[in-house]
């Protein structure tokens, strides 16, 4: 399959008063046309910033893409001038944002907000665009779309608004859709509907998409491949099936342990990942997950592991972990049984308990790096 997107060594940073936040710190991945990819990690790990970087939507200042290349359809997005980038946005790459409540403009009608892109990229006139808008709304399952097309966003429910966002993303038949936590803000019952819709439409339109989420459960049935991100870096890459069957990296284990599963024994407890995400201004010098890792060794603190193929796994399964490399101590570990050094777990728990609540909140609030322009 020809490559649609190739991201190489992407570095996106935010220059704040407290220092440089390395939100995305050397991310590389590829995506074929029509392929679907899940980008998974805790909030603040750089997934959203990665997506925004692809469309060059990082607020500048304080943000800046300092290094790397984003090859889309054989062209480097980072080398384009502003007009060329605008020609791609909404036309070739579209984005669905997290919160449908705030992502639609409250003072413009739905029809205006969808038609806008159609008129711009597909050069439709007003009435053509309007007709197409109604079709799109029907396609995403808005009942009596003809009547509702002139409504304002506040007249729609959250789920309906997200459908509108999807219609908007699909409007110009993009080759790639970036869906950033598209269901996080919605009711659980609506979540499944929206995901099904997205999946079905992407298949129908043969659109590649990147689904960004903190919830491994969401991507399970949705994407062909999964990349796990932590602290601005990709820490594990695998096919979806392979990742769930044979996860290699302790952070991925942590994520998996924290999803409730119906097919498992009641007594297997949900285990949260203790500790806080790393400070991206002064990240740990070794492995970024080391401070929270229950399997850590001295080498983890001293040197950063590379993203490497794992010995006893599928060919394209890679992980960034000393323990999973040739001769590493985790190669034979069964993550379901072995939950690591419980003393370390206790240590971290105690330390966290001693932090004043304010500091924990502050640290959590500071880590997600895209701060609104001050």
């Amino acid at each position: 399959m020809p490559e649609l997107l190739a991201v190489r060594d992407l570095h996106t940073q935010f220059f704040t008063r407290d220092g440089v936040v390395r939100a995305v710190d050397g991310v590389s991945f590829e995506l074929a046309a029509g392929e679907t990819l899940g980008l998974v990690g805790e909030s603040g790990c750089g997934k959203t910033v990665t997506a925004l970087s692809l469309m060059r939507l990082i607020p500048m200042p304080p943000g800046r893409i300092v290094k790397g290349a984003i090859m889309f359809d054989g062209q480097d997005v980072l080398k384009m001038d502003d007009d060329e980038v605008r020609g791609i946005r909404g036309n070739n790459i579209a984005m669905i944002f997290q919160d449908p409540m705030t992502s639609l403009n409250p003072v413009l009608t739905i029809s205006r907000q969808i038609s806008e892109a159609l008129e711009l990229h597909l050069k439709m006139d007003r009435s053509e665009a309007r007709k197409r808008t109604i079709e799109l709304l029907e396609l995403v399952g808005i009942p009596s779309a003809k009547k509702r097309v002139d409504d304002y966003p506040h007249q729609f429910s959250g789920g309906m608004r997200q459908r509108v966002m999807i219609a908007m993303a699909l409007s110009c038949n993009p080759k790639l859709i970036l869906a950033d936590e598209p269901t996080t803000a919605l009711d659980v019952t609506i979540q499944a509907q929206i995901l099904e819709l997205l999946k079905g439409l992407a298949k129908e339109f043969r659109t590649a998409f990147i689904l960004i989420t903190h919830d491994l459960g969401v991507v399970a049935g949705m994407t062909q491949r999964i990349h796990v991100m932590y602290g601005g870096k990709i820490v594990e890459k695998a096919d979806t099936g392979e990742l769930f069957a044979n996860p290699k990296m302790p952070y991925t284990w942590g994520l998996l342990r924290s999803i409730p599963r119906l097919d498992e024994h009641r007594k297997s407890k949900l285990l949260p990942i203790e500790g806080l995400p790393p400070d991206l201004i002064a990240p740990p010098p070794g492995c970024r997950f080391e401070p929270r890792c229950q399997y850590r060794r001295d080498i983890c603190r001293e040197q950063e592991p590379e993203l490497k193929h794992i010995p006893n796994a599928k060919a394209d399964h890679e992980a960034r972990c000393w323990g999973t490399q040739e001769g590493g101590w985790l190669v034979a570990t069964d993550w379901r049984r072995e939950i690591g050094d419980t003393r370390v777990l206790e240590e971290i728990k105690q330390e966290v308990a001693q932090l004043p609540a304010e500091a924990v909140r502050a640290a959590e609030a500071e880590t997600p790096p895209p701060p609104p322009t001050p």
């Binding site: 469309m55 939507l57 605008r86 020609g87 791609i88 946005r89 909404g90 036309n91 579209a94 984005m95 944002f97 919160d99 705030t102 992502s103 639609l104 403009n105 409250p106 003072v107 413009l108 806008e116 892109a117 711009l120 990229h121 304002y152 506040h154 966002m165 908007m168 609104p372 322009t373």
Partner: protein, 309 residues
């Protein structure tokens, strides 16, 4: 929306009643007769004349009776006659109103014309020199009282440079200083609000959505940001207009403009009750109507506002 307008107008009636009641009782709480003042001037009026005048104008009756009489006349748009000028209040006000209206409308237009672009530009060029200059202007303009700025302006442009006249309203060149000074406060206030609400709107999620569609920066700013940023600005135009209306009293006093503001000032000093009541009620109605108009506009710019409650 029509129903809402009618309801708001009906609500004006009890409000006006209270305004009338309070102003009326205040006016009558003052000791002595309004004709005392008249008699102080050169030759004192004989006591008998004052009593006859009091009787003629009904001031010797109990206050509540006078109030009832005033109200019943007011309903028929008869607001009595001025004690001092011996002419119907309506006529006097009708003569002064055009000056005040012209001053107020000019000032409002000037304020809007300068404040909106200034606020938008300083928000788009945040922390630039233009931004700092307009912030400084906004702070000074909202802080230093208009009569003080007026004094400085009269001194500079009138007394020292002899560029502009500063007494009366006779020629267009007489309009410049009063209009400029009156508009200044509202202008500064609106600049501040415009800048703040532009900055607020510009960082909303929907702006990112608009950019993600590939829209040009100009379209994003005009169609998406400004349309939202104008909502808080419109709500502020109401209080700003009210400020202009009361501010015009000070300006009319300072520049000796024969409008209702100066009528109000002289009437309270001369204790000319009918004229006080008339001018004050007019101001109350004007401010209420200005607020109503702004609330209705608010419903037009913000589709989330509905009046059918």
């Amino acid at each position: 929306m029509l129903k809402y307008t009618i309801r708001r107008l009906l609500l004006l009636i009890p409000t006006l009643f209270f305004v009338a009641l309070i102003v009326f009782s205040l006016a009558h709480a003052a000791p002595g007769s309004p004709f005392d003042a008249k008699s102080n001037e050169n030759k004192p009026l004989p006591q008998a004349t004052i009593e006859r005048l009091n009787h003629l104008y009904g001031i010797d009756k109990p206050v509540w009776e006078q109030f009832a009489l005033y109200l019943s006349n007011a309903i028929r748009f008869d607001f009595g006659s001025s004690f001092v000028r011996d002419r119907p209040v309506i006529e006097i006000i009708g003569q002064g109103f055009p000056y005040s209206a012209q001053l107020g409308v000019q000032a409002l237009l000037v304020a809007l014309m300068f404040s909106l672009p200034l606020g938008v530009i300083s928000a788009l060029r945040q922390n630039s020199i233009v931004d700092y200059a307009s912030l400084l202007f906004a702070t000074v303009g909202t802080t230093i009282p208009s009569f003080v700025i007026g004094i400085f302006a009269i001194y500079i442009f009138g007394v020292t440079l002899h560029l502009l006249p500063f007494v009366g309203w006779s020629t267009p060149s007489h309009w410049i200083l009063p209009t400029a000074i009156l508009s200044l406060g509202a202008m500064a206030f609106l600049t501040r609000i415009t800048r703040a609400s532009m900055l607020e709107a510009i960082r909303q999620d929907y702006v990112r959505t608009a950019r993600s569609k590939g829209l040009g920066e100009q379209v994003v700013i005009v169609a998406h940001v400004m349309k939202n940023a104008m909502i808080p600005v419109v709500t502020i135009v109401g209080p700003a207009t009210a400020g202009l209306i009361t501010g015009s009293i000070i300006i009319e006093g300072l520049f000796s403009i024969p409008g209702i503001g100066r009528l109000f000032l002289t009437s309270i000093i001369q204790r000319d009750y009918p004229l006080i009541m008339g001018t004050y009620m007019l101001y109350a109605v004007l401010i209420a109507v200005a607020n109503l108009v702004v609330d209705l506009t608010y419903g037009i710019v913000d589709p989330r506002i509905r009046f059918d409650r």
